[in-house]
Symmetry: D2
Subunit: 240 residues, 4 copies
């Protein structure tokens, strides 16, 4: 129904890749780079915005032209300006922009605000295997994927993950030590859609895996604006 | 992501239109006809199947080539053969065919089987107005529609409607006498998707309304197969 | 399973009742008074806290002893101190306190934070009738109630109501002009439960209606702490 | 709000325990016996009904006096009479009886009818460990339980489990080989509530574990009738 490809902006803290050799070794051009490369190969226009740019690269103009915002935050969540968080929140809930939070972005200010919960979880870095099982086989984000995706090495996240019950739970992960995690979750927030995706870590090459890249491309398509053309609020006779 | 248009089959009892002048006056070529015309104008291949055809027109070959089955049943639900109901159910849950139940099809055998409930409701024919309000503005089925659709004359259906809680509740109706109804509901059943849509009555020209036809086209697109390419079941080593 | 009665605190702005004769005429002792009276008749210990008390009456000690917090806010949402909002949010998500938001409290800071959305809606004061229909007949909050509750005179709220999809939708309202509204909604937030209830207006005697009072008592019982005894978060070996 | 204890009936095929020494060794008085003993210790009146009794022990009188029906079926699902299945279905959807399906009862006729899906899954008997993680910590069925329950030896069930999306997902399991499963699931069906619980196997002593017995007692309390006193259906002026 939507004939044109969405326009994506990937936001990245982009500091560890410039200072930490272990991260540079895996993501020399930034953890956003393999995702951006893959999206561009699909003819999806993709911009990059980073923490240290003016306004974190998220000017009103940039957001107005973004259909889906992908977010990677890790160690500097608190440095994101509250006014920019408010701007993103409005662009999602009132403007219909989609939002995809990756891995450690569960603690990003904008994600916590969208959820309304603490977004706490259990975690451990043990370099173990993760298996993602699809529990919603008809979901658009699962399109073309195998029943199970194996990530050879990852950081573990465990339940209870303090998020609102997902509107759609698409993937559940298990880890070598027996923990489980709701690792692919969808919510609707106002006129915008939100997807949380757990896999991804700055020292493992997870964002080079073909299934992961296909899944993220599916998520971009799902999160792109859809639905009613207008939604009005307020007092009768004034706004509607 | 799905580049080709889905193939639709509309199933209709198609008896009242041949015997009842009041129905003939509104739907001279069958209540399916304006829907089929509209879908075909959108380049969606659309077949018609009816109760009095051999196998009700739903041969294994026809179902295998159907991406979305639209169903209109009203007075002859009990005449639908149980073996055909089983065939449809398997085509949905195991094969991924979408299913759209219209109005009085809430009591169709296949719909009741998919729901697992009695599908009972309150009803009254008083020729009153219905207003459909969208409560899920980002939903694909709402794409391009106004916030409220008004149906000038309709039969009333009232809550409690004995269905499972919808996976996605898209539209809620109100009627002149104050009743409400969950009138646009989505469920996932195995590899298939199901949409129930309340409006439609054999003596009111509801299926000629442009918003209703656009909504049904959206529903066809939503219900078309998506998701995992294969799902396997059974004992380890034998089936997966 | 919970043998003891929950302890309730009702928070009220409590200004209009002291200054506006039209409000005083209906709720001379505060809009909280008939609710508190009813709960106390059910042997539920009920405290009152108001905007103009120190810390808005919501000291750490008071919150620690509150199982369910009922909230009435209307014109002074912005005067509620952000630090108190954070304190309430933690008491709900981490401590398990239940939260019930009444009517115009949809715009209370704490409710908006719990929802993660704008909580906008349509509204009009026309003194019309409201009918509440139960769409979840097994829900504990519906226990003992009739299928439909009629509120003779009320302010209208209309969809789209910008809330996350409720975990459980219990009541849907219709109004004389044909609007509908999801008027009884449940969510889970961390270890706490949240209920939004639409009816109630400072110039209509809605909180004296027996069905409304029974419904709110049911909501208190539902929102009281339940579930796991402990939930732990954080790094392995440190916190769990 | 419900002051009296529910009355439970446990239905069991009760054949393997009489013929298979490996099963007899674990459950000499039937797999229902430890559950019945535990419920009776909680002052919950508990009846036993079995496949080989007249009407499978499920006479209209017995069902009318049952608040919650617990079901264990395994190898003889097809021997359950369709008329009895219909009787149970009506008692749940129209009468409000709760229903708890245990383990291999995912293929019981009544469970499949309530779900509307195929209820297929993956399985393997490898005697491995199962860990149940609570993903809904406020849920009544989780009350008093630890964050994780470990079952030392069990049969594995794996996703995709072809059930409708649960209204409430309470527990997710992982197994030694990395599979996951939605192992504690709630649905509402008409006036009745349904809980599926995965653990339990005829050759492992799972139903003697204290946490499992507490969880099942919680499930009985949750599934007991609640909500509206009456629900009416049909044509205006005749039924409502």
């Amino acid at each position: 129904m939507i004939n044109t490809q969405p326009t994506v902006t990937i936001w990245n803290e982009y500091r560890q890749e410039q200072t930490d050799p272990a991260v540079q070794a895996i993501y020399p051009h930034g953890i956003h780079a393999p995702i951006a490369d893959h999206l561009r190969h699909q003819n999806i226009t993709t911009h990059i915005a980073t923490l240290d740019q003016p306004q974190h690269g998220l000017t009103p103009e940039r957001l107005a032209q973004t259909d889906v915002l992908i977010w990677w935050g890790h160690r500097h969540h608190h440095e994101v300006d509250d006014a920019i968080v408010t701007r993103i929140h409005e662009r999602i809930t009132l403007g219909g922009m989609g939002f995809i939070a990756l891995h450690s972005s569960h603690f990003a200010k904008i994600f916590c605000q969208l959820m309304g919960t603490t977004c706490k979880l259990k975690h451990a870095v043990r370099g173990e295997q993760e298996r993602l099982w699809c529990v919603s086989p008809t979901h658009p984000i699962a399109t073309g994927l195998p029943e199970r995706i194996t990530v050879p090495q990852t950081e573990m996240y465990g339940e209870f993950f303090d998020i609102p019950t997902p509107d759609e739970l698409v993937f559940v992960s298990s880890f070598d030590n027996g923990e489980v995690f709701r690792s692919g979750c969808c919510w609707r927030r106002g006129r915008g859609k939100v997807f949380y995706f757990r896999p991804g870590h700055e020292t493992y090459p997870i964002y080079y895996q073909p299934e992961i890249l296909q899944l993220l491309t599916n998520a971009v398509q799902w999160a792109a604006p859809s639905g009613l053309q207008t939604v009005t609020y307020g007092r009768e006779g004034r706004d509607w």
